[in-house]
Amino acid sequence: MSENKYPGTSGLAFKEALLWERSRAGRLAISVPEQDVPKSDLDPNLVGDAPDLPELSEVDVVRHYTRLSTWNYGVDTGTYPLGSCTMKYNPKVNEQAAALPGFTELHPLAPESSIQGALKLMYELERDLLEITGMHAASLQPSAGAQGELTGILMIHAYHAHKGKQRHKIIMPSTAHGTNPASAALCGYKPVPVELSKDGIVTPDAIRAIMDDDTAGIMITNPNTLGIFESHIAEIAQIIHEQGGLVYGDGANMNALMGYVDIEKTGIDVMHLNMHKTFSTPHGGGGPGAGPVVARDILEPFLPIPRVKKDGDRYTLVSDAPLSIGRLHAFYGNFAILVRALAYTRTLGKGLKDVTEQAVLNANYIKASLKDVYNLPFPQPSMHECIFNDGIQHRSGVTTMDIAKRLIDLGYHPPTVYFPLVVDGAIMIEPTETESKDDLDGFIDAMKTIAEEVKANPEGVKNSPHNTTISRPDEVQAARKLILKGQKA
């Protein structure tokens, strides 16, 4: 195994117990203020035992989490080419902006005169997202991409209800994002599959064949999850519109379109954007994100409330919108994420077009560099991501998962695997624009090395990873013998 030239190596790794295994009665990590007012006892019937939590010192807590953090891989650690996830660099000035006390200490129900800066910030982020997409109106309230999708579909549902006739189906290409069918199901829409062309895209003919007056519209991801631009999008939208339907655009892949595409011109009626993908806010090991929606004028009345309005120099929250789908968040969405997103749009500005160009170039560079070594099920021109599979390596008994695990040894986060479902054993690579050619060359070289290893020593690949603290945890056992809560030592 030839590992020396790759960033992945082994070093001193620390064991770390579970919190309650470290607990010692009498330790305390929090600074408790003095009792400055009389103690007041609640009715003892309402009071429980002291909560079942560990007892630790501040040093215990700091060491615990510092050690746990070393078991993680982040974008700041290295290349993180997860397809569909847009794991780009998360700028640090965004964090500094979000930590300003006028934002962090702000109560959401403070009088409007006390929250003018926050409302202005939200208003301006809406303007920026509309400028970038070409759409007409926005809401920042959805907490994540899937909630943005739900918002969009709720708006389509409300639109049809308002027109007087609800519809029951929605067209859903197999190249749509994974959350799309589940979001549509929440609105009672039955997903209708649509045949893809041999180029992996949706065609006007295929839509014409299935679109009818009981179909609410289409949910389309563009570029789709094969990384291919749906070049018939405007014509597809026209067919949908002629039958009274609406077009939902999944904007998770907006990173491939900035500066090039006018979303409104493509015929999309409503679209969500992932602040934690295209707009550089950190993914935080699972969230929080933010999933604003942008809409065409006909759908503006259906946007969630409250909405931010500008009235001269004042900003106000408006809830008077009888056609609105209602509220999706206890307050106004993930405000602190929105601060970071605005810091990003304001730092890049018109340079967002360069972001898109380099994201697409990086992906195509990987595709060109690996196409002779890994099978490329869809060789058509693609944009910000490229999808290989284990078609060649499988003959040696090595799977996509094995390749992914071996990449870890060599110091790279694996790509997305086994998604999209339209490709067997998919290896979905999205490098993003923030990786340099040097980083990409290292990744490409690692992928080539693994392909060689598969020929020479498939067992070594199948047994990987070798350099991590744990290897191949048993997921079947985890699901069969459920342990979802720790027991005291």
């Binding site: 005169s113 968040h329 992914a404």
Partner: protein
């Protein structure tokens, strides 16, 4: 641009490898009718300009000292917590789909699940929802999945915004909500629960601060064959109060932002979702489970993925994917920091400060709306003219309670107050001086 690393030479070599002369060739599949006409009209800022602009926006806010809770509470965030959760290995990682390089996140979330389940007296907690409101909406949907009756009974004293979110999630399915009224002491009246509901949903402490009788709610729900869902907006209360699991709750959900997170204009928070083991296979959201690796080492993985959208697609129990993982990490750090004795002491101090504030307001002519027990929030009818004074007090840097007329029209003229451990005696005294 400092976030892009490729040099002109790099770009030239890459274009050559790809077989293009100009990058715009890679966009050839975008038809003319979909292209934008003009460049993006946003001027890029330097780091210096950006921070000036954002400082100005920040300064245009006046957080002051807010004597308001109503779903977002002012609590002290120990210094080491933001320091720790800002470690980029936590902050810049994705959802832990590759367990070998995500054990840090996975163990931390397993610990979060354990501590929240224990705090609330429940069997299972998930890895988090977006916020307390969406956690409640998902709980209501889950209760309907379990009991198969398209209706739930909601106490009138659930947070009004949470009820609105439930309505939003329910509307397209045609699921219904019925409202349960309020007793004179400010607790929910369960006498009207009917047998056609999947769940009785009650918030405790409720929107007006009163601690609900969860045992009575459980009995009322179970007698009618419904589940009891207990919601909360103030996680700190469970440092002092008897946990809802021990009183018969089937699902307990709420907002965990009080643990280690700043207010941030209301978000992000962390939606907490817990339930009984019987319902684990229809639980929304991610779950982290313990297992062993190929060498027998304890390790953690995402589990029961067959419930989730990326596997089950339209048959998934929920569409949630991205959650509030980083906030859950902060909440876990807070629970570990406060611990068994610390959380009790801080929670007690919340109650003590609230009692002290209430006594002071009574001296200033306010009258309590209810006599039911409260934790750190309570509703008062204001003396005449207070509306006007409210503005003046705000100019002194105090937000003097929440005007309930905006939320519950029959309580016009009443205000909801909150005091926590950060509202020390000095601060309360200074505030009361302005009110008097």
């Amino acid at each position: 641009m400092r976030y892009l690393s490729n040099t002109q030479e790099d770009l030239r070599e890459m274009k050559e490898a790809v077989g293009i002369k100009d990058v715009c060739e890679l966009f050839a599949s975008i038809p003319q009718n979909a292209r934008r006409a003009k460049e993006i009209a946003i001027e890029p800022r330097t780091e210096w300009e950006l921070m000036r602009e954002f400082s100005k926006l920040s300064d245009a806010n006046k957080p002051g000292v807010a004597f308001i809770g109503a779903g977002s509470y002012s609590h002290h965030v120990p210094a080491h917590i933001p320091y720790l959760y800002s470690r980029s290995e936590f902050q810049t990682s994705y959802t832990p789909y590759q367990p070998e390089v995500s054990q840090g996140t996975l163990q931390a979330i397993f610990e979060f699940q354990t501590m929240t389940a224990n705090l609330l007296g429940m069997d299972v907690a998930n890895a988090s929802m977006y916020d307390g409101a969406s956690a409640l909406a998902e709980s209501a949907l889950m209760a309907i999945r379990v009991k198969k009756k398209p209706k739930v009974a909601l106490s009138r004293l659930n947070h009004p915004h949470y009820v609105q979110v439930v309505d939003t999630y329910f509307k397209p399915s045609g699921f219904e909500t019925v409202e349960l009224g309020v007793l004179p002491d400010g607790r929910t009246d369960y006498s009207k629960v009917t047998d056609d509901v999947s769940a009785v949903i009650v918030q405790s402490p409720n929107f007006l601060g009163v601690i609900e009788d969860i045992g009575a709610a459980a009995k009322a729900a179970h007698d009618k064959g419904a589940l009891l869902v207990v919601s909360f907006t103030e996680a700190m209360a469970w440092g002092l109060l008897k946990n809802p699991g021990s009183q018969g709750a089937d699902i307990v959900c709420g907002e965990g932002k009080s643990f280690g997170l700043s207010q941030n204009m209301g978000g992000p928070g962390v939606g907490i979702f817990t339930c009984k083991m019987d319902f684990v296979r229809t639980t929304p959201g991610r779950l982290v489970g313990q297992t062993t690796d190929k060498n027998g080492n304890r390790s953690f993985v995402l589990t029961l993925a067959a419930r989730e959208q990326h596997i089950r697609r339209e048959k998934a129990v929920s569409n949630i994917c991205t959650n509030s993982g980083h906030c859950a990490l902060a909440a876990a750090m807070y629970m570990a920091t406060a611990g068994k004795t610390g959380l009790r002491r801080v929670a007690q101090l919340n109650h003590d400060h609230a009692v002290y504030l209430k006594a002071g307001l009574e001296k200033a002519g306010f009258r309590p709306l209810f006599n039911g027990p409260f934790f750190n929030e309570f509703a008062m009818t204001a003396p005449a003219g207070f509306d006007y004074k409210h503005e003046k007090i705000a100019q002194k840097g105090f937000i003097a309670g929440l005007d309930l007329g905006r939320y519950l029209p029959d309580h016009k003229g009443a205000f909801l107050f909150c005091a926590t451990e950060v509202h020390t005696k000095d601060v309360i005294d200074a505030f009361l001086k302005e009110v008097a």
